[in-house]
C-alpha cells in the first residue's frame, strides 16, 4: 500500500501505455484488488476535522457498508468521491486502480467508474422510465431520431435483466418511490458498464483518459489499453476488470421500510456483475443485512473496518454511537392502564380513501397507536387524512365527543380540531429549511404571542421557542439558526416540537424517524412516549417494525386497505409485526 503512495506523483497524461498484463479471469475471482480505496483521507473544515486519515477498501463483487452517526463524516466521504470536496493534502484515493491526484469532478469520477445514487435520486419525474434510464446517452449521442419502440424494448430488457418489472413507457413520477430507486440503480449500473466499454475504445473521451484508465469489455475479457506505470500490481487487476463502484448514498433512507428488500435484490444483481457497492446508510440492521464488509466512522475516524459476518446489530450500534444504546424500553406498553382508562380521545369510523377500503379505529388518552403495512397498503393514509393532507372519500371523526366529517378535512380544520400533523417529507412539508428554527416553530405558536395590530411579541415568542428547543433536545438550541444548518435528526425534532407546540389533542405522524441517525431516533421515540404520557393521543404510521415495537401500545397492520391484524401487549414485538406485515401480502 505504501507503494501506491508514490504513484500520486505520476504526471497525468504522460506515461506510456503498458500492454495488458492481465489474464482473462472473470471479475469474481479477482478478490485481491479493490475497486475503490481510500488511503489516509483527511478533510478539515476550519477547526473541524470532518475526516481524519480515513482508509478503507471496497472490493469488487461485494457490498461495503459505510455507517456512522450524523456528523461522523460519511457524507464527507461521499462528497470527496463525487468531487464536491477536495480532500486535504496527503490523502489518496484510488479508483479502479487509478490514483486520483487532483480533485474529482462529476465527469471525472464517472469516467473513472464511479456512479452515485443519492437520496433524492436525481430523476425527472415528468419523463418516462426509458427517458430517465437513458438520459445520459440521449444527451451525449447525437442521434437525430430516436426509435421509441426500440428504446422502450431495450429499456425493458435492461430492467428485466436486473429483475425490475416495470413498463418503461410509464411516467417515472407515477411509480412508487421504491421502483423509481430501482430504475436509478439500474441506470447507474448500466452507466458503469458503458463507461467500462468506452474506456476500451480509443475514440472516447480525452486522450489522457483513454490512455490512463484501463478497462475491459463487458464480455469479461480482460483487455487493457494502457494505464500509468504505477509501479504496483495491486491496482492493475481491478482496473482491467471493467467494473466500477456504485455508491448508494442513503438511497434507502426515504424509502418505505418494506420496499427496501426489493431494492436489495437489485443491488445484489449489480454486485453479481462484479461491481463494488459502497452502501452508505443510517440503518445498522440494513447494513448488516446488505453488506459483506462494513466501515464504521465516528467523529471522522474509522473505528471499525471488517466483514459483517458474525457481527450483530447491537455490536454495530455500539460501534456507531460509541456507547451502549439505552434502548427505549416499551414501558409505555403498560400505559393503557394509566388511570384514565378507556377515555377515547379519537375515534375514526368508516374511513375510506383511494388506498383505504374501510378503516375504523380509536385511540385512548395517552396511547400510541401504530399503523403499519406494506407499501401501498394505505397505512399512512389515515394520518394524512387526519392532518388534512390527503383526501378521504368517506368517514367520520369523533374527537373528544365532537363529530366531524373526514371527507372534507383540511389542514385548517384539523388544526382547529386539535390535531397536529407531522408529515412524511420533512424537507418539503414538515418545515421550511431556509428559514430559521424560531420562524419554523413560530408558525404554530405565534397566535398566542400576538399583540395589538397583529404584532408578534418577539421576545415572548423567542422565550417559548427556546424552551421548546431545550425540551425537545434540539442541538444547537439556537432559535436564529437556519433550519438547514441542523442535522436531519435535529430538524425532525424541530418539526415535532412545532407540532406539539400547538398543544394538540391528537398527534398524527408519518415515518417520524426516517432519515434520522440512531441517537436522534432514540430521542424522538422517547419524546413521543412522553407526549403520550402527558395525555395526547398519538397515531404513528410507519413501516419500521422495531420502531413500532419501541413506540407503540397497539399496532394495526393493514392489508390492502383494511385491518389485517391488531397487535398489543405480548404480541407487540418486532418479529411478529414483520410477520403480520408480510402475511398480508400473501
Amino acid at each position: 500500500m505504501t507503494g501506491r503512495h508514490e504513484t500520486t506523483q505520476a504526471p497525468e497524461g504522460s506515461s506510456p501505455p503498458i500492454r495488458g498484463r492481465v489474464g482473462s479471469l472473470g471479475s469474481g475471482a479477482r478478490s485481491g484488488a479493490a475497486v475503490l480505496e481510500l488511503l489516509e483521507v483527511s478533510k478539515a473544515f476550519g477547526s473541524t476535522q470532518a475526516l481524519d486519515r480515513v482508509s478503507f477498501q471496497v472490493m469488487p463483487g461485494r457490498v461495503h457498508g459505510l455507517v456512522g452517526q450524523n456528523g461522523s463524516g460519511k457524507s464527507t466521504v461521499v462528497k470527496v468521491l463525487s468531487g464536491y470536496h477536495m480532500p486535504d493534502p496527503g490523502s489518496t484515493v484510488v479508483v479502479g486502480g487509478r490514483v486520483v491526484t487532483t480533485a474529482l469532478s462529476g465527469g471525472r469520477s464517472r469516467t473513472l467508474g464511479l456512479r452515485f445514487v443519492h437520496q433524492d435520486l436525481g430523476v425527472i419525474p415528468e419523463l418516462s422510465v426509458t427517458e430517465n434510464l437513458y438520459v445520459d446517452r440521449f444527451s451525449t449521442e447525437s442521434q437525430h431520431l430516436l426509435r421509441w419502440r426500440d428504446e422502450h424494448a431495450r429499456a425493458a430488457a435492461l430492467l428485466g435483466a436486473f429483475g425490475v418489472d416495470v413498463d418503461p413507457r410509464r411516467r417515472l413520477g407515477d411509480l412508487p418511490a421504491a421502483l423509481q430507486a430501482m430504475v436509478v440503480i439500474v441506470r447507474a449500473a448500466e452507466g458503469l458498464r458503458t463507461t467500462a466499454v468506452a474506456r476500451t475504445s480509443p475514440s472516447y473521451g480525452s486522450p489522457s483518459v483513454s490512455a490512463h484508465v484501463a478497462g475491459a469489455g463487458t464480455d469479461g475479457m480482460g483487455r487493457s489499453d494502457g494505464r500509468p506505470d504505477d509501479g504496483g500490481s495491486a491496482g492493475s487487476a481491478a482496473q482491467t476488470s471493467g467494473v466500477g463502484v456504485l455508491v448508494l448514498d442513503e438511497a434507502t433512507a426515504f424509502l418505505p421500510f418494506a420496499a427496501r428488500a426489493q431494492l436489495r435484490a437489485v443491488v445484489q444483481e449489480v454486485v453479481g456483475l462484479g461491481h463494488g457497492v459502497l452502501f452508505v446508510s443510517h440503518f445498522p440492521e440494513e447494513v448488516l443485512d446488505w453488506a459483506d464488509d462494513v466501515t464504521v466512522l465516528r467523529d471522522g475516524r474509522v473505528v471499525a473496518d471488517r466483514p459483517t459476518a458474525g457481527m450483530d446489530e447491537e455490536q454495530l450500534v455500539e460501534l456507531i454511537i460509541g456507547r451502549k444504546l439505552e434502548l427505549v424500553s416499551p414501558t409505555g406498553g403498560g400505559s393503557g392502564h394509566s388511570g384514565v382508562e378507556d377515555s377515547q380521545v379519537l375515534e375514526v369510523h368508516g374511513l375510506r380513501s383511494k388506498e383505504i377500503g374501510e378503516l375504523s379505529f380509536s385511540v385512548r388518552r395517552g396511547e400510541v397507536l401504530g399503523i403499519t403495512g406494506l407499501v401501498g397498503s394505505g397505512h399512512d393514509q389515515a394520518c394524512n387524512v387526519l392532518g388534512g393532507a390527503a383526501h378521504a372519500e368517506a368517514g367520520t371523526l369523533v374527537l373528544d365527543g365532537r363529530r366531524m366529517s373526514l371527507s372534507n378535512m383540511s389542514p385548517v380544520l384539523a388544526r382547529r380540531a386539535g390535531i397536529a400533523f407531522v408529515p412524511h417529507d420533512r424537507q418539503r412539508q414538515g418545515a421550511a429549511v431556509s428559514l430559521t428554527v424560531a420562524e419554523n416553530i413560530s408558525l404554530a405558536i405565534m397566535d398566542r404571542h400576538r399583540g395589538h395590530l397583529d404584532r408578534i411579541r418577539h421576545r415572548q415568542l423567542r422565550r417559548e421557542v427556546r424552551q421548546l428547543l431545550l425540551e425537545y433536545g434540539v442541538q444547537p438550541p439556537v432559535p436564529d439558526a437556519d433550519l438547514r444548518s441542523l442535522s436531519g435528526g435535529n430538524q425532525q425534532k424541530v418539526v415535532i416540537a412545532k407540532a406539539m407546540a400547538q398543544r394538540p389533542r391528537v398527534l398524527a405522524l408519518v415515518e417520524p424517524t426516517q432519515g434520522v441517525d440512531v441517537g436522534a431516533r432514540a430521542d424522538i421515540i422517547g419524546k413521543l412516549r412522553d407526549v403520550a404520557r402527558s395525555g395526547t393521543a398519538v397515531v404513528c404510521a410507519t413501516t419500521d417494525a422495531s420502531q413500532l415495537e419501541q413506540l407503540c401500545d397497539r399496532v394495526l397492520v393493514l392489508r390492502r386497505g383494511v385491518v389485517g391484524a391488531e397487535l398489543a401487549g405480548s404480541t407487540l414485538i418486532e418479529d411478529r409485526i414483520v410477520e403480520e406485515t408480510y402475511r398480508s401480502s400473501a
Partner: protein
C-alpha cells in the same frame, strides 16, 4: 408551479448529515463580520457612489436640488417596487405592476386632466382599478391554478392596451394642481412630499413583513408553501391577497407618477418594470440578505436611481440607464445566488 423567486429555497442539502452543529454553535468571528458586510453591502455601495459623483462633480451633484429630485421623483419607483415585493415574498411574480401603474396614471390624466372630474374621485377610481387588477390576477391564479408569472405577464400587456384605448394614444396634461402640490411641489426638508409617502409605505411593508403574524404566514407561503398549507395557512388566499396589495400599490405609484409629471403618458409607465425588479432583487441581497425586504428595497431603489442620475450629470447618454438597470438586475441575482451557495456551503 412555484417560480423560483430567489427566496432562500430549501436547497436540499445533499446527504443531510453533516457537521452542521459545529458550524452553528461556534461560528467564527470573521464570519459574523462577513454577515455584517453582507447586510450593509448596498448601503455602503450607495455611499461610495455618492462619494465618487461628489468628487467628480462637486458643484452639481451634492446639492439639495439633485437629491431633492432623486428622492422625490423616484418615489414612484420605490412604491411600485414595494408593491411587487409583496407577491415576491409569497413566492409569486407580478409582472403586471407596470401596466397597472400606467393605467392608473392615465385614469388620473383622462378623468381629471381630460375629463374635468374631481381629482379625489379620479384617485379613488384609480385605486379601485388597482384592486380590480389584483383580484383578476388572483382569480386566474386561484381558480385555474395558472402560474402568476404567466397571468400577470398577459395582464400587464392587456392593461397597456387598455391604457392606449382610453387615452386614444395621446398624452393628457392639465392634472389638478391639488394633486401635483401634495406630490411634488410641497416639500419637507427640501424633499418633495412623495418621498415621505414612499417611506411611509416602506414602513408599512416592513412592519407587516417583520412584525406581524400575517407577514410571517406570507413568508412561509413563499419559502415553504406546502409547510404553510399543512400548518393551516390559507395559502391561496394569501397569494391572492398579495397580488391585490401589489395592484393597489402599483395604482398608488401611478397616481404619484401622474402627480410628479403633471401629465399622463400612455406608455411611460412600462419603463418601470425592469428597474423595479432590479431594485427588489438587489434589495434582497442586503439588510436581511437572502430575503426580499422593505428597507433593502428602498435603499436599493435609491442606489440605482442615484447611479443613473450621477451618470447623467457626468454627461453620459441616456442609453446608460438601460445598461445600468439591466446590469444591476443580473448582478443582484448573481449575488443572491452566490450568497445562497455560500449559505449551503456553510452547513457541510
Amino acid at each position: 408551479m412555484v417560480v423560483d423567486t430567489q427566496q432562500p429555497e430549501p436547497q436540499a442539502a445533499p446527504g443531510g448529515d453533516s457537521g452542521a452543529r459545529a458550524a452553528v454553535t461556534s461560528r467564527p468571528r470573521s464570519e459574523v463580520a462577513g454577515d455584517w458586510l453582507g447586510r450593509a453591502s448596498v448601503p455602503l455601495a450607495f455611499g461610495v457612489v455618492v462619494l465618487i459623483f461628489t468628487i467628480l462633480r462637486p458643484a452639481v451633484f451634492p446639492t439639495i436640488g439633485t437629491f431633492g429630485s432623486i428622492f422625490g421623483s423616484q418615489a414612484v419607483l420605490v412604491v411600485v417596487t414595494l408593491g411587487l415585493l409583496v407577491p415576491l415574498r409569497a413566492g409569486d411574480y407580478d409582472l403586471s405592476v407596470a401596466g397597472t401603474l400606467t393605467l392608473s396614471s392615465m385614469i388620473i390624466g383622462r378623468l381629471n386632466g381630460g375629463g374635468g372630474i374631481e381629482i379625489w374621485i379620479a384617485v379613488a377610481i384609480a385605486l379601485a382599478v388597482g384592486v380590480g387588477v389584483g383580484l383578476t390576477n388572483g382569480f386566474f391564479v386561484r381558480v385555474f391554478g395558472i402560474n402568476p408569472f404567466i397571468v400577470t405577464l398577459g395582464m400587464g400587456t392587456l392593461l397597456l392596451g387598455i391604457t392606449l384605448l382610453i387615452s386614444g394614444d395621446q398624452t393628457y396634461a392639465g392634472i389638478s394642481p391639488g394633486l401635483i402640490d401634495v406630490v411634488v411641489t410641497d416639500r419637507f426638508l427640501g424633499i418633495p412630499l412623495e418621498f415621505y409617502y414612499a417611506v411611509i409605505v416602506c414602513i408599512g411593508v416592513w412592519y407587516v413583513f417583520e412584525h406581524t403574524t400575517l407577514g410571517r404566514r406570507l413568508l412561509f407561503v413563499g419559502s415553504g408553501r406546502e409547510v404553510a398549507r399543512l400548518s393551516g395557512v390559507r395559502v391561496e388566499r394569501m397569494r391572492v391577497g398579495a397580488l391585490v396589495v401589489a395592484g393597489v400599490l402599483a395604482a398608488l405609484a401611478g397616481i404619484l407618477f401622474a402627480g410628479t409629471s403633471g401629465a399622463a403618458n400612455p406608455t411611460a409607465g412600462s419603463d418601470f418594470l425592469l428597474p423595479a425588479y432590479a431594485a427588489a432583487f438587489l434589495g434582497g441581497t442586503t439588510i436581511t440578505p437572502g430575503r426580499f425586504n422593505a428597507w433593502g428595497t428602498l435603499v436599493a431603489a435609491y442606489f440605482l436611481v442615484t447611479g443613473v442620475t450621477g451618470l447623467a450629470i457626468l454627461g453620459i447618454q441616456s442609453w446608460v440607464q438601460d445598461v445600468f438597470y439591466g446590469g444591476a438586475l443580473i448582478v443582484a441575482v448573481a449575488f443572491a445566488q452566490l450568497s445562497r451557495r455560500r449559505a449551503s456551503q456553510e452547513i457541510i
